[in-house]
Every structure is written in structure tokens, then in C-alpha cells.
Symmetry: C2
Amino acid sequence: MTYCVGLLLEDGLVMLSDTRTNAGVDNISVFGKTYLHEQAGERVLALLTAGNLAVTQAVWNRLQEGVRLDGVATTLAQVPSMFRAAQLVGAAVREVFEADGPGLRAQGIGFDVAILLGGQIGAAAPRLFLVYAAGNFIEATADTPFLQVGEHKYGKPILDRVLNPTTPLADGVTLALISMDSTLRSNLTVGLPIDLTVIRRDALAVALKRRITEDDPYFAFLRQRWSESLREAYQALPRPDWLG
Amino acid sequence: MTYCVGLLLEDGLVMLSDTRTNAGVDNISVFGKTYLHEQAGERVLALLTAGNLAVTQAVWNRLQEGVRLDGVATTLAQVPSMFRAAQLVGAAVREVFEADGPGLRAQGIGFDVAILLGGQIGAAAPRLFLVYAAGNFIEATADTPFLQVGEHKYGKPILDRVLNPTTPLADGVTLALISMDSTLRSNLTVGLPIDLTVIRRDALAVALKRRITEDDPYFAFLRQRWSESLREAYQALPRPDWLG
């Protein structure tokens, strides 16, 4: 499996993905799931992918070579807006489904893909989308300023409780890392290293691209301190007086 | 859906279930999912059920009327050990599958059931089992002293981090309630009220059976305080210095 999360904040985007892929639990590999398209000063887009690796790699390759959008072969360098970028990613997903769906079905394998697309093009505001296997998509809003794909449940409670659009970028990074930590601890199919991308609003460039390994001092400290904090918070809670 | 969790502690058992059932999100009802069998001084057993309500109610009814175990109609009052009790629950699940499986399949409905069985019979130690739809089962051990059925992912990280067999019963109650709270907040298909059962080791009786509603002062305080604690813990964490 996979865990990817994207945060749409007033100050920009925080995008975090793990790198574990598995064909059965006895065949585990490291593959990056974050793809960046950056034209400094003009546009910056990040794709975070979950699902069948052959499908997600095919989607990215087609996006490089051009996907037919309204009959015209188009790349991420050419779309005029994030909405059109989401349509293009959806079109790429549908192209891969047309090409590989029957072959997968013949082997009893589902067409499994979900993609987070975040970024900014020109002067328009940053946007964050989740593109489904059907090629359609939803968009994060101020009410729900984060989107997840893959093993989303373990890491959702902390986001539900704390995140809002005014959360500063550095706080968003910490929150995304806590959310990832909860997932890493409880689910073996999500694994280190993890890839962090930060896009500041109106910078039209990647502010930070960092691969975080087991040895990363900040992440290691965060994991340990968060565990301790949870234990302390739980210890500090009163116990029920009706238990006797 | 459902969330049920059972903790097997040195001091006894903590069993907690929600009460929400749904046939689609537009048809939500309250049904208890905790069933108790108590013969004070001799045995006490608790079943917590997840899955198709018609299946789980049929399992409980068959356990009352007697299920064939090694050719003899047997009830929970008659089994000599918790292992035999788990076999009996598994046999009841298989009887329901034989009776209703074809009818369900004809309607395209899966045979969906999972049951936590905790309890103590006589002088033997308390035990905790998870019985699957196939009628087979696993047992909690000191390495993993809790079992869950239903929507288990949201509430698992806190148990993974904190629980161990020496956790006192009152602490176990608090932990189970935190685990349930995380699930309630992030998943609408799990809902209040919740049913808490506590079985003290060697008491051979139910120590506490409590239905916890939205108005329960302890649970309301716990939910609020836990949320505050998480926010405070997150606020107290340092932010990454490599973000600039």
C-alpha cells in the first residue's frame, strides 16, 4: 500500500508520500511516488500517487509525452490552470485504463490508482485535487483542507482535530509528519523513506524537496517525542470514578 | 460499520463496542453489539459483534438454543473452557453460513461477520479471541494484548503505542475510550452510544456494564481533554529548522 497526504494551506502546499511498494508482503521495494513539474516563476505541480505501480508510472510517462485533452496532445507544461491540470491527469488515467485495463482484468487484477495533484500556475491560487481511477476528481476546500490517498485511516484523526487553512507551513509539515508516523507504526505496507515537498504560495517554485530517512534527526526526534507526548497525555487523564 | 475492541490485561478484560448499524448511510439505527453470558461464580463471557446484523443476531440466537459441537447441541453454559467457547462461537457462525450463506449470495451480499469473545470459565485465566466468518479464530497474547473488529484503523495507533498486559483495568478503560473516540470522530459509520463491559480476573461476574451516551460526563470530558492534549502536544513540538 501507500500513504500520501496533501495539505492546502493559506501559505501554500505540504505534500508527503511514503516510498513502499509491495507485490505481496514478501516482495517489498522502495519507489518514489512524488513527481514534480517545475517551471520556476511560471508553474509548480506535484503529483503523489497510490495504487498499482505500473499504472502510476504509466500515468506519469504519458503526462511527459502528452495526453489528449479535447483532442490535442497536451503536457503539464501547457495547461492554463490547475483545473485543466487535474483534467489532464484524469485523461492520462483514462488513457492508461484504455491501454492496460483489459490486460489487468484478464489477470484478475483491478485498475487501482489514486493521485493527489497540488500546485500553482501563474497568479491563480494554489489548489489541491484528488484524481480517482475513473479520471474524475475532487478538490480540497477551506472546510477540508487536506486530501489523502492509500492507507489514510491511521493518520486521519490528528488532521481532523488540528488542521485548518490558517495553519502555518512549518506547522503543516510537522502535522503531516505526525500523520505519516501514525501510519508507519500501525501498517507495514507503508514504509520509510518518505518524500516531503513544500510549495510556498506565489513562489512558483519548489520551496523544499526532502527525502526523510530513518536517520533524519528531526523526524526521529518527532517520532519519539510524539509517542512520549501521547503517553504523557494519556497518563494525565483522570480515570473513570464509576469503575470502583 | 462497527468498532469493537477487547483488551486482555493481567487484571481482567475491557470490552467496548459501538451501537451504530447502517443499511446505507441514509438508514442508521442503534443496536447493541455486546452480548453477555454470566453465571456468577462460575463463568462470564462477553461477545462483541461486527458485520451483517442479521448474521450476528442469528449467531447469538443459535448460541442460546444450542449449537452442534462434536455432534452434541451445546450452549455457552456448557462449554468447559474458553477454547471450547471459541469453537462453539465458530460453529454457530458456520451454522448461520450454512443456513443463510446461499440466500445472501443469491442477492450479491457477502457473509460478513467477526466476533470478539472474551471471558473466564472457572479457575482458568481469562482469554480473548477473535472469531472470523470462516468460524476459525485467533487469540490475544501478551505480545498483542488487544483485538479489534470493524473499523479498527483509526483507533489502533494509541493502542499500539501505550497498551501492555500490565496496564491496570481503569487505565485500560480510558485507553479503550480514547481508541473509540478517534474512531467516532473520523468515521460516521461508528456511533454513540457505546457499551462498555469490564470483567475482573477471578471475579467470575461482570464488574461493570455501562452504556455511555453523548451526555456521559466522564466520556464527554475525556473527549474534550484528549483533543486539547493532542493539540497541546503538537503545539509543543519543535518545527523543522530545515524549512527556513
